[in-house]
């Protein structure tokens, strides 16, 4: 059956109709439906159908379709092959879970339909982006996601769109950089189609193109310096958005493109300048973001900073340009999607029951919500890199690659792992441990319903599965897709690394216990780091948005605007005052020669004659 579906999709323009247009249409329909059961059924059905299509495409041997569209090499060309169809499948699975979660979450709340509309259009755009082979068309779908991002962030915030604007500007800047990168790359390669490109060397103008495209790709994923809207979104946007976008979908897109850049478009050598630059960005992201996460007292904000930090691992892995690193980065992305989505879902579950995610307002929920707590614990262990969960294995691959490149990067990654562990210990004990404290008016806390619990459980199980049986994802799915025949599955081959990682985890535990003892409670377990001398000043500045690149952009924009205003005033002065004044002055001056006196006229005339004679004499 799968083959018949895939061949059906492969004929004519069915790819476009069924992978791109159909989700959009379903989104519109769901927007108009107000009935909850109907919405649930239609949402699940359409997500399942999309999954079916994606799986069939993955199982087929792939095809390449070209639809002539416009001049200048801008054809709609789709390349459905192993790598891209794998990601289509990942997205489809993720989407199914997210839709179930969202529909249940939004029951009884406003703007459910609008949210679903944007989600489905985003799905359509993402399908198109994964399938497209032509960089111009890729850009079109990429930009489409910008619109839906903006739209979702405007839900509930129509009058205070600060997050939406910030996200638009930051993501827009990343997209502009990517556009520039695409233009330079296309110019260097002579074509817009990735499959027709030979790997370009990273030198000269191509280096600029590489840098821009890379920045655009990882910026979309949420790496620094395009990250600062995500914590804001954690406060303003609905939780299912956090589940979907910063956790999962954007990571898929960004890392997909980053991997393709390094694998197909540019020839990045390990140890080259480009590689080091990318790794630096990755490491910085890891450390700085998790440092910020450490001090947060709101669950969603904390999780969003972690989302940023984890991207650093992926970027670091891909930036090494070693096969082990690329594989590690992509695997880490997959794992991250799984455990971060699960974590956000638990946060949403808590929010549905207590009405808030502010850790200062509740604690000790473990007794009332045991299932949520279990899922949380599993995902937290995964993200901290505790064996034998999936996070451990992907982190080990990245550590291996980082150590092979340079010890500095390895140490940075290790530091990040340390702080990740600390912050999750704090979060877990603060939210679910300790004595029960509930916000006022919410005494009736109980476990969430099956609609919320089911997706969480599936993801938690996947965490365990992909860790224990990591042959399936690594050698079964990712290996063939990337085209790397080396087997990375099984226990990491370097025992030293494992020992060091475990040691770091134990150190984190000790530090957490010490900190909570010292500052009075799990919630304040990280305060001794927060208020350490030197770090305290940096944290203060960060809280005041001094390090926020968005604020820098705004300042620059204000400066440019002031300069333009000054120039404009100068030009207006020139036209309104200067020119007019000169002309009037000249006219006034001349009028003195023409004042009605005949003798003056004659004088002027005679001197004119003399002038002419003089001119004649001069010429000859």
């Amino acid at each position: 059956m799968l083959t018949s579906i895939s061949s059906f999709l492969g004929s004519d323009a069915n790819l476009i109709w069924f992978m791109i247009v159909l989700p959009a249409v379903v989104g519109v329909v769901l927007w108009l439906i107000k009935n909850y059961p109907l919405r649930l059924i239609l949402g699940l059905a359409s997500a399942a159908a999309n999954l079916l299509f994606a799986v069939s495409l993955f199982r087929s041997e792939g095809f390449y379709k070209v639809f002539p569209f416009a001049a200048g090499g801008l054809n709609i060309s789709f390349n459905v092959y192993g790598f891209s169809s794998l990601f289509l499948t990942f997205i489809a699975v993720c989407f199914l879970l997210v839709i179930l979660y969202s529909v249940v979450y939004f029951k009884g709340k406003k703007h459910a339909g609008l949210f679903l509309l944007y989600m489905y259009i985003s799905l359509a755009m993402m399908n198109g982006a994964f399938m497209s082979d032509n960089l111009g068309i890729l850009l079109f779908f990429w930009e489409g996601l910008l619109c839906t991002l903006f739209g979702i962030l405007l839900i509930n915030n129509l009058h205070h769109p600060r997050t939406a604007v910030k996200a638009l500007i930051l993501a827009g800047t990343a997209d502009l950089l990517m556009m520039l990168g695409i233009i330079i790359t296309a110019y260097q390669a002579g074509t817009l189609c990735i499959s027709q490109m030979e790997k370009l060397p990273v030198a000269g103008a191509a280096a600029v193109g590489f840098a821009c495209m890379m920045l655009g790709a990882i910026g979309k994923a949420g790496s620094m310096p395009f990250h600062s809207w995500i914590p804001n979104a954690a406060e303003d946007a609905p939780t299912p958005f956090m589940v979907a976008f910063p956790a999962a979908l954007e990571k898929f897109l960004g890392i997909y493109l980053a991997a393709r850049i390094v694998m197909d478009i540019y020839d990045v050598q390990p140890g080259s300048g480009a590689s080091i630059a990318v790794m630096t960005i990755g490491t910085l992201t890891i450390v700085l973001a998790v440092a910020m996460a450490l001090i947060q007292k709101d669950m969603k904000r904390l999780l969003s900073y972690h989302a940023i930090s984890q991207v650093g691992y992926m970027v670091l892995g891909i930036g090494t340009a070693l096969p082990i690193g690329i594989m590690g980065g992509i695997f880490h992305m997959l794992n991250h999607v799984i455990y971060k989505s699960c974590l956000f879902m638990t946060a949403g579950s808590v929010e549905l029951q207590t009405g808030t995610t502010d850790l200062k307002q509740f604690s000790g929920l473990g007794r009332k919500m045991p299932l949520t707590m279990t899922c949380f614990i599993i995902s937290a262990l995964a993200i901290s890199g505790v064996p034998p969960l999936n996070g451990f294995f992907s982190k080990e691959l990245v550590f291996d690659a980082a150590l092979e490149s340079n010890i500095v990067f390895y140490l940075g990654a290790l530091l990040g792992a340390f702080m990740t562990a600390i912050s999750f210990l704090k979060l877990g004990r603060a939210a679910f441990g300790g004595e029960l404290k509930l916000p006022a008016g919410r005494q009736n806390v109980r476990e969430s319903g099956p609609g919320i619990f089911l997706p969480m459980a599936v993801l938690a199980i996947l965490c365990v599965l992909f860790g224990v049986a990591n042959t399936l994802p690594l050698d079964g799915l990712l290996g063939p897709a990337v085209g790397d025949p080396h087997k990375y599955s099984g226990w990491p081959h370097s025992a030293t690394l494992v020992v060091i990682s475990v040691a770091v985890l134990l150190l984190a535990l000790v530090d957490h216990l010490y900190g909570s003892r010292k500052s009075g409670g799990a919630l304040y377990a990280a305060d001794h780091i927060h208020y350490a001398p030197g770090l305290k000043t940096i944290y203060d500045l960060a809280e005041r948005q001094v390090f926020d690149p968005y604020i820098w952009l705004l300042q620059i924009a204000r400066g440019v605007s002031a300069v333009c205003n000054w120039i404009e005033r100068g030009i207006i002065w020139l036209y309104d005052d200067a020119v007019v004044g000169i002309v009037k002055g000249a006219g006034n001056l001349l009028q003195r020669a023409n004042d009605g006196s005949l003798s003056r006229y004659l004088l002027v005339a005679v001197s004119g004659v003399a002038g002419i004679i003089a001119l004649f004499l001069a010429i000859n």
């Binding site: 003056r600 006229y601 005339a605 002419i612 004649f616």
Partner: protein, 487 residues
């Protein structure tokens, strides 16, 4: 052959005949009907020259005598060619417009006015038709005297003063032209165009004293004709004369007299002696300075007619620039601009007459918002302004384009650039005029204003139609002239 002969004969004879009739009629009848009778002269002239233009295609030049045939070869005859016919057509058109305006603005002494107008027409026609420098001078004098009297005859204070200034400067011009003529005669022994032209080529070259004499002659003649044209720095009489004369006379003066008396003289004398670099440079300099200075002056004026008069000074500069290139394209552009200037300048003075008749003032600071009450005047003024500024599809665009192209082709791109930039000034002062007089809010005292009627309105309509038609048909006209081999 026949048509041409009739053309030229009519052009010469009809005004004289009308004059005779005018003189012979009893006084009362003459006063009433003289202007009406005077319409015949320009109408006949227009028709005759149009017919002649069609016929002249076959031959380049037609020489003829009047009343008796001339035997000797050295006799001086009248001659007519394509350019003369175009100029004759202009004369007819402007005179027609002037008579239509005079119908309203000349209350007394109509017979005298008509008679002098006929003399002026004959004088101008004669200037265009002769082939001898001395005869040119004679007819120039006729034009000068009749225009002087036309300015002065209504004996207003300013009229007499303006006429006197014009007279004095005109006399200076005549003296200089005559002296120049004399020097040329000394060298070449003849004053006929072809003989002077033939001898001129030989004079440029050997012999310093001869050359100095020739250059002095050229300088004097240029200066003389420049005074007649109203080019800077010889322009000073022009605004005063235009302002103080009756508006019908202003139409004549600016519309045709300064061009026939001045520009045609330039065309004649620059065709001798080959292309001396001194002459070209002098013409170009005078032209450029005229354009800029005329425009600068016009920007400061607040009397309707003075603005238009200074605009004439400026436009004469364009024509001189066209002549200074020495190429056929430049000459064509210059003559085309003569035609266009005749049209739009007459329109503007007619508008001045209309405004004055209805509102009683020429001061633009006291006027405003007239377009609501005087739409025809306003529209024709707008059309004239756009033609002057060189905006397509009005006629002025083409002639300006030709002149600038000719300048560019002959390498004088500095002058071309200045001419182009000065177009901004042209637009500026006319826009100012337009805005202050016609646009804006209608002042309360003009609430009862009506459009001018009668012949003045028809004059405006006719001239506007000519402007627009000339602009639209210009390419075809160029092609026609190219077909008959002028270009």
């Amino acid at each position: 052959m026949q048509v041409i002969e009739y053309t030229t004969l009519l052009v010469f004879a009809v005004p004289l005949v009308i004059l005779l009739i005018n003189i012979l009629l009893p006084r009362q009848l003459a006063e009433k009907s003289s202007i009406g009778l005077a319409y015949l002269a320009p109408l006949v002239q227009i028709v005759a020259t149009a017919a002649g233009l069609v016929q002249i295609a076959q031959l380049k030049q037609h020489e003829f005598a009047i009343s008796w045939n001339l035997a000797g070869a050295v006799s001086v005859r009248f001659a007519v060619n394509v350019f003369s016919l175009v100029l004759l057509f202009c004369i007819g058109m402007v005179t027609l417009a002037a008579i239509m305006v005079a119908n309203r603005t000349v209350p007394q002494k109509r017979a005298g006015f008509a008679g002098l107008l006929m003399m002026l027409i004959v004088g101008m026609n004669g200037m265009v038709l002769v082939t001898d420098l001395f005869s040119l001078y004679v007819f120039l004098e006729i034009v000068g005297i009749s225009s002087f009297v036309l300015i002065a005859m209504f004996k207003s204070d300013t009229g007499l003063e303006g006429a006197f200034k014009y007279l004095v400067m005109s006399v200076l011009a005549s003296i200089m032209i005559l002296t120049g003529l004399a020097f040329v005669f000394m060298q070449t022994g003849s004053l006929q165009y072809d003989q002077v032209g033939a001898a001129g080529g030989a004079l440029v070259g050997p012999g310093a004293p001869h050359l100095a004499l020739m250059y002095t002659a050229m300088a004097l003649m240029i200066a003389g004709f420049a005074i007649k044209t109203g080019a800077v720095p010889f322009h000073s009489w022009l605004p005063d004369a235009h302002q103080s004369a009756n508006t019908a006379v202003s139409v004549l003066l600016s519309g045709i007299v300064i061009k026939i008396a001045g520009i045609y003289g330039f065309i004649v004398i620059t065709n001798f002696f080959g292309r001396l670099p001194g002459i070209d440079l002098t013409l170009a300099l005078i032209g450029t300075v005229s354009i800029v200075v005329g425009a600068l002056f016009a920007l400061r004026q607040s009397h309707f007619k003075r603005i238009v008069a200074y605009s004439s000074v400026s436009q004469m500069g364009y024509i001189l620039l066209g002549l200074s290139t020495g190429s056929v394209l430049g000459l064509l552009g210059a003559v085309a601009h003569v035609f266009n200037h005749a049209t739009f300048k007459s329109t503007l003075f007619t508008n001045a007459a209309a405004v004055h008749e209805q509102t009683g003032t020429y001061d633009i600071n006291e006027l405003g918002g007239l377009e609501k009450k005087m739409p025809v005047t306003s529209f024709s003024s707008l059309a004239a302004f756009m033609s002057t500024a060189g905006i397509p599809p009005f006629a002025g665009f083409w002639s300006k384009l030709l002149i600038i192209m000719a300048l560019w082709n002959s390498g004088d791109w500095v002058f071309a650039a200045i001419a182009l930039i000065a177009s901004i000034f042209t637009a500026a002062y006319f826009l100012r005029l337009q805005r202050k007089v016609f646009f804006g809010k209608l002042l309360d005292k003009f609430a009862q204003l009506t459009e001018i009627g009668g012949s003045v309105k028809w004059a405006q309509i006719m001239l506007t139609v000519v402007t627009i038609a000339a602009g639209l048909l210009f390419p075809f006209a160029l092609r026609y002239f190219g077909g008959i081999g002028i270009l």
